[in-house]
Structures are given as C-alpha cells and as structure tokens.
C-alpha cells in the first residue's frame, strides 16, 4: 500500500512546474493542554485552498496512547484564515487490548508570522467524543440525555503548527 503513496507522490511532484498553492508539508503539531499528547508530527498536502493533514503521535511510546488526527482545512482568506474538520480515532492500551475513542473535530485556523522557511499556524478546535469501543468493554456512544451523560465528551482546545513545505 505504501508503494501506491510513493508513486502518487512522485507523479504529483513530476506532473509539472511547481505552484505556489501546492505543496507537501511536514512539521509539528503542538498543544499545551491535558488530553491529546503535546507534541505530535503532522504532515500532508496542500492543494490550493484545501489542506489535507495526517497527525501521528510519537509519544505513544510513553504511555501506549496514540492520538491520531485526520484533518481537512479550507482556507477562506488570502491571509490564511480557514476552517477545519476532522476525525480523531485515538487509542489507548488497557488490559484486554486497546480501547478506541473516536472524536469529531471542528475548528478554525489562523496565520502566524513565518519563521524563515517555516510556516506557523494557530488553531482552535472543538472535539466531540462520539463513540468508544474495544478491549471487550461495551461500546459507548455519545448521549445528550443530561449534562452528566455529555459533560466529558466535549473539549475545546488550541494548538500551534509549525511546518516546512516543499512546493510541487
């Protein structure tokens, strides 16, 4: 499967002259709150106004919790403001296997000053835990029956991204 991605990547890179609105990017996704690990690696491809991002979590080695994000960002202004939506299929090791917690992500992003060749971006994200399953424990889905049912399923956080981009 990885060979497919390599071929696609090479084809895209060879498809023609580089464009200012298309690039591959790789960098860091940082946040300072409890919950998702504070330092993660994010990478993706920007195609005009659309940016597709995969966030991987190297801190999984510390506690067997992996906070993975799949995001799409849509730039709505020339300055770099945009909206984002995504999915977080986080997993955490427990006795009996792994528990998977799936959250829906929505948010907004804004530009920060460039640091030399490194792009920076600020974002605010609302994460809603929709469903949890795995490890032989019953599946739990979000309920709006009361504040006690929903209270821990919603989290609002901010993040900062630093990325190095290569146009194609």
């Amino acid at each position: 499967m990885w060979r497919v991605f390599v071929v696609v990547g090479v084809v895209c890179m060879c498809a023609g002259p580089t464009r200012a609105d298309r690039d591959w990017h790789l960098g860091l996704n940082l946040r300072s709150e409890l919950g998702v690990h504070p330092v993660r690696i994010d990478g993706g491809v920007r195609l005009g106004e659309l940016d597709l991002i995969l966030v991987l979590d190297p801190m999984v080695v510390t506690d067997a919790e992996h906070d993975l994000d799949l995001m799409a960002m849509w730039r709505v202004s020339e300055q770099g403001w945009g909206v984002m939506a995504g999915w977080r299929p986080a997993s955490i090791e427990v006795v009996g296997g792994h528990r998977f917690l799936h959250s829906l992500l929505v948010g907004a992003v804004g530009p920060l000053p460039k640091l030399g060749p490194v792009r920076t971006q600020w974002g605010i994200e609302a994460a809603t835990l929709i469903v949890s399953h795995g490890a032989g424990i019953s599946t739990e889905t979000v309920s709006f029956a009361s504040g006690r049912a929903f209270g821990d399923h919603f989290n609002l956080t901010m993040f900062v991204r630093f990325e190095y981009a290569v146009a194609f």
Binding site: E33, D63, V94, V95, D152, H153
Partner: protein, 272 residues
C-alpha cells in the same frame, strides 16, 4: 497551567514514574457499561455495579452515592428532580451491608471498602440537620455490617455545601473513626458562580474538618490545584466518562480516589 502539565508528562517519561493506582469508586452507584444516567442512584444499578468482576475480584474499590433529605424522607437520590421514584436510603444501606457480609473480597483491593456519601442540598436549609441525620443513620447500618464482618471500612462524607458538612460535624451523633472504620470529610470544588451555582469558593469551607477534595480534572486551574496540595488534602477526581482528557488528568494529578461511570474501562486502564 497546561504547559506545566504537559511538561510533567514528558518528565514522567524520562524518570519512568509508577502509574497511578487510585481507589476506584462507582459514581452514583452506577458504573456498568454501557452507562445510562437514568439509572444513577438506583438499587438495580447498584447491585449490578457491586457484581462487576475483574480477574475474579470486584472491579471497584467502593462507591460514591447520593443522599437527599426530601419531604420528610431520607432518600437514595441524585436530587429533587429524581426523588419521586427514588429508593429510601435504608434500602441503599441494606444492599451495601449485604455486600460487606458476603463471602470473599468486597473490593478489588480485598477486604477494604470505601464509600463517599454525598450529601445533596435540601430545598429548605431548615432540613440541614435532618440531612445530617440521614447520613448518620445510613452510615450506622453500613458500619455495623463492616464491623460484624471484619471488613476495613472507609467512609467519606462529601458535599458541595459547606453548611451541610458543618451540620454533620456539629451533630451530637457525628460519625467518628474507630478500629476498622475510618471516617473523613470531603468537599466538592468545581467551576464557580455563575458557571455553576452549586459551587462555593474554597474560602467558604474555612473552619471545617476536611480530608479530601473532590474535583474534575478539566474544571480546575493549576493555581487551585497547587493551593489544595499545600493544604494537605487528598484528591478525589470525578469524571462523567473516561476520555483521553480525563485519563490524562488522572495520570498528571495522581488522585487518591477516582469516581467513574465506567468501572470496567477504569480497571482495565489501571491494570494495563
């Protein structure tokens, strides 16, 4: 606050600190998965929660249950809105007593059992003394069962409302520790007014005997946590559900007790 917490996570990785192993308490006596809030503080959910097993032992270490004095009755109820069909507190006490008298371990820890009795706020402050009496009567039934069965019992009386803790501590029959039975007092701390009108400021609990503070890891600032640590209080961390955020709060703050609605997930996470 959060940057400090994140730095602590990184530091823990380097020094290889032990994982938290808190006392697991069943929130509102209802911690069977999938969780249904409509079954909070009900006898059926309580029995099912006490019956949970992990590797042949009870999954939980104890309970967090609510007591309410309402319309002349001592109820096992989350609040006035749920009181109409609520069981009496004497039935709650009988079920717990039956559990303490049963064969084998009564908690994941073995022979010890911990109960947080949360005193809910009566509509009329005139009933504060009745509410205290309600808690004392419930305690006595459970205490007698523990002593007769040779169990180690820990009972923590807890409330959002400082005047209820005061009424209990000033009551002539106030519960006290004895051999095999430990009695303590806890207060609940959450987002202050006007976000949550139930909550009082830390200073409102001045003058009371306090051993534990019950709080939610996502609703407390680092400033407040530092102050609470310096008061020598033990932490009881409440979560309505176990999410990445609430589990990380337990990792960072390492509370003595956790109050959860999904005991199986909690136990499997602690024992991983």
């Amino acid at each position: 606050m959060r940057l400090r917490s994140s730095a602590i996570l990184v530091l823990l990785w380097f020094v290889g600190c032990d994982r938290p192993s808190p006392v697991v308490l069943c929130h509102n006596g209802n911690c069977v998965s999938p969780h249904d809030v409509a079954r909070d503080d009900t006898i059926d959910a309580l029995r099912e929660s006490l019956a949970l097993r992990h590797e042949g032992r009870p999954t939980i270490d104890g309970l967090e249950v609510d007591l309410l004095w309402h319309k002349g009755r001592c109820l096992f109820s989350h609040g006035v809105a749920e009181s109409e069909n609520a069981s009496g507190a004497e039935e709650l006490a009988a079920v717990i007593a039956e559990h303490l008298r049963s064969e084998g371990p009564v908690s994941f820890g073995g022979n010890s059992f911990t109960i947080f009795f949360e005193l809910k706020v009566p509509i009329d402050p005139v009933d504060d003394r009745n509410q205290a009496g309600c808690a004392i009567d419930t305690f006595r039934t459970v205490r007698d069962a523990a002593v007769e069965s040779g169990r180690e019992l820990e009972v923590i009386f807890d409330s959002f409302e400082p005047r209820l803790l005061g009424a209990l501590q000033e009551h002539p029959d106030r519960p006290r520790s004895e051999p095999g039975v430990t009695v303590g007092f806890s207060f609940d701390l959450g987002p202050g007014f006007p976000i949550d009108t139930d909550n009082h400021r830390l200073g409102d609990f001045a003058g009371l005997e306090l051993d534990v503070v019950e709080l939610h890891g996502g609703w407390i600032t680092d400033t407040a946590m530092q102050a609470l640590r310096q008061l020598g209080l033990e932490f009881c961390m409440l979560s309505y559900d176990l999410t990445i955020e609430t589990l990380d709060a337990i990792d960072v703050y390492d509370p003595t007790y956790v109050v959860v609605s999904n005991a199986e997930f909690m136990r499997q996470w602690i024992e991983r």
